[in-house]
Amino acid sequence: MSPPSVSQPVLVYDRIAQNRRKTVILVALAIALTVPFIGAVSFGVSEFLVAQFGPRTDIGRTRENAMRRALSRRRESGRPDTEFTRELDNQLEAETWKMRVQREKDEEAIARFRMQMMTVVAGGFTALLGLLFWTVASSSTSKVLTMCGARPAGASENEARRILENLSIGAGLPTPKLYVINSPTPNAFAAGTDPSHSVVAVTQGLLTLLEYRELEGVLAHELSHIGNHDTRLNTVVAALALFLRLPYLLVKRRIDEHTQNQYHYVPVRRRGWFRLMFTVVMLPAIVYVFVVAPILATLIRSAISRSREFLADADAALLSRNPEGLVRALAKIAGAGSVVAVSNPVIAHLYFADPQAPGIAMGLFRGSLLATHPPIEKRIARLMEFNGGVPGAAIEQAVHEGKEFTRFHPPVAIETLEPIKQDEISVLTAGNPMGRVYRVLSATSLYDRPDVRSFIVARVPAGGLLVVFDDPGRFRQVLTPDQTFGYMPASVKIQKVDMLPGEIHDPAARAAAESAAVAAQSVAQSAAARRLSPAQVLIATALGVTVFAGIFIVMMKFGGN
């Protein structure tokens, strides 16, 4: 008997190719937005610099034209044509000619200065873009997990771990670590830029609600996110979006500060005709930089996020060969609701279903354009295309089961938790309130106050693990495994350890990490907490070179005048 013939075209490969193409187009569009953005900003800044610091011309074009008109009027006014008047005319013409030559030289100097300033500013802004990439990309997975309050999977999650292991054999990826979030709402996410250092986190509600095949579908979806390097892509897109929104966000911060400090906002007064012309000429650039680019950046970022969700759905169907499981899981989650109370808007795109409650303030913009996840009905519809369809009754029943689940496992009330007020710039500037785990390389003692002469609260042996909170200064704030808080001198060399801060309180995990090979690492690596990677050095050098070149050019121009 021969294998059953395929009655439908294989849509899943087409869908996968289509989604990848869409991502490429959107990312190209985002990069294409950046180029005029850098151009507009550097043009504006260079115009400003020319106006403030640039070479000036004493003789404007209008004045020269006025003089020439006066001269021609003199000639046609019917004067006596004596040698004296002719001599006077020649002298005046010679003067005008000299003034014109001088003006042209001045204008050339101004144009050259403007070009140099534009190049310098454009280069500086491109280096800034690189700096943003690096900063956004270095936010670690453990920080994300701590933000969600996740714990490593224990013995009761063996089934889920087995499913994940089997799926990674099917995908040819290293098995990601499984973490569990203590929330009754069913949802899941995957994080990690490198497949060998990735994690998948599921909520307790998901494990309770879903059956074997449905859980397999959800985990296949998350594994597909990891395999498609979606976190890395989202990092790149987030950096681009932040770059395009930066002027808007800075101005918004300044306006917010002003409105908080004064009764009404007093804008900077612009005086003078030149300033007016400056603003009018710059208006398209200003509109683009402050209004159009931020909005487009947000839209593109949401569109890319949605497109990658569809791609992960299709890849999950291909991996598990069972789209029905994923369809039923989606239907159950649609019934149960996917709003996770502890979620942070900054990482909303990582979740399986949209974790944000529709806020009142965002009500106007909560249409499908800004959502990070496509609506569940559309996802189910696309998945149904692959399999020839799941009966509608099965979907109805799954939705009903989801709603029943919510009745018995109500979600945490959202109103009691204050929304996390973070705009995106704080991604760059916030320290790490959760702390990071480090290993101390030489024995040291912890002090009660940031003072070497104060009381010693604890001693830490060499190789001991600590949770370090960022504190610029001569002392670091640390927490020992037995919950003692103290200050450690900043001169003690520490080495980063890839663990969650919560894990060091567990003796088994701590012993395992402490006995890990310390001998293999040389002393030169002990400053790894401070050392810069080659990429960082390159970007910092580029930025420094650009800044110094700009200063040098400005000084030359200044001195030459």
């Binding site: 008997m1 021969s2 294998p3 292991e165 799926l167 054999i169 099917g170 995908a171 040819g172």
Partner: protein, 204 residues
């Protein structure tokens, strides 16, 4: 100005002849890079297929290592079912002796049938069914079968990629020249498509 001077020197140096040779050199360079990347892609695809095949063998070995425990547990409760145990031992011996993919595939099929008969026999002993060690081993066996299935699926994915590269243009020119043979997909045994008879009647 400096830029005017640059333009003049450039126009003097880069005559049409120089430009043509430069263009030809660049074209040749890019074509060489393209050819090299095609060849490397073929090599990588073939390596991945081989690695996926050994991945299947890893899972098969895992199942083979489960079997002694399973046999001992069943023997503890059903000591007089000698034929079944002998069959399993014979199948394991055949698998250990098999060399080459065809022989090991046949031996693996034999082992699967023997295991199936062992589990059918174990259905008759309710004490065995209740034993926690037996249910644990049964779960492990089911899990291993799934792992084997996923490993075969992964192998097929890589075989697809390898074959597609070998047979698309312009890769197929390389394939013939450098002796890249198409790899076979993992197909099921002929008996799989027949209907399975399930009966809940207890064997007497």
């Amino acid at each position: 100005m400096l830029s005017a001077l640059l333009f003049q020197t450039a126009a003097a140096v880069i005559t049409p002849a120089v430009a043509a040779t430069l263009f030809a050199v660049l074209m040749a360079f890019f074509m060489a890079m393209f050819a090299i990347s095609l060849y490397n892609g073929l090599v990588r695809a073939r390596m991945r297929t081989r690695e996926a095949w050994s991945g299947i063998e890893v899972q098969l070995k895992r199942r083979a290592s489960l079997i002694p425990n399973l046999v001992e547990t069943v023997r503890g409760y059903a000591a007089h079912e000698h034929e079944v145990f002998a069959e399993v031992a014979q199948a394991r011996g055949a698998l250990a002796k098999a060399s080459g993919p065809a022989a090991s595939a046949a031996a693996d099929q034999f082992l699967t049938q023997a295991l199936g008969r062992l589990m059918a026999v174990a259905e008759n002993y309710p004490q065995l069914q209740a034993a926690a060690s037996f249910t644990h081993l049964q779960g492990d066996l089911a899990d291993t079968e799934e792992k084997i299935a996923y490993a075969r699926q992964f192998y097929n994915v890589n075989a697809l990629d390898c074959n597609a590269r070998i047979q698309s243009f312009p890769g197929n020119q390389f394939a013939a020249w450098f002796h890249f043979e198409p790899v076979t997909f993992f197909t099921a045994e002929p008996g799989v498509f027949e209907d399975v008879q399930v009966s809940f009647a207890k064997a007497v």
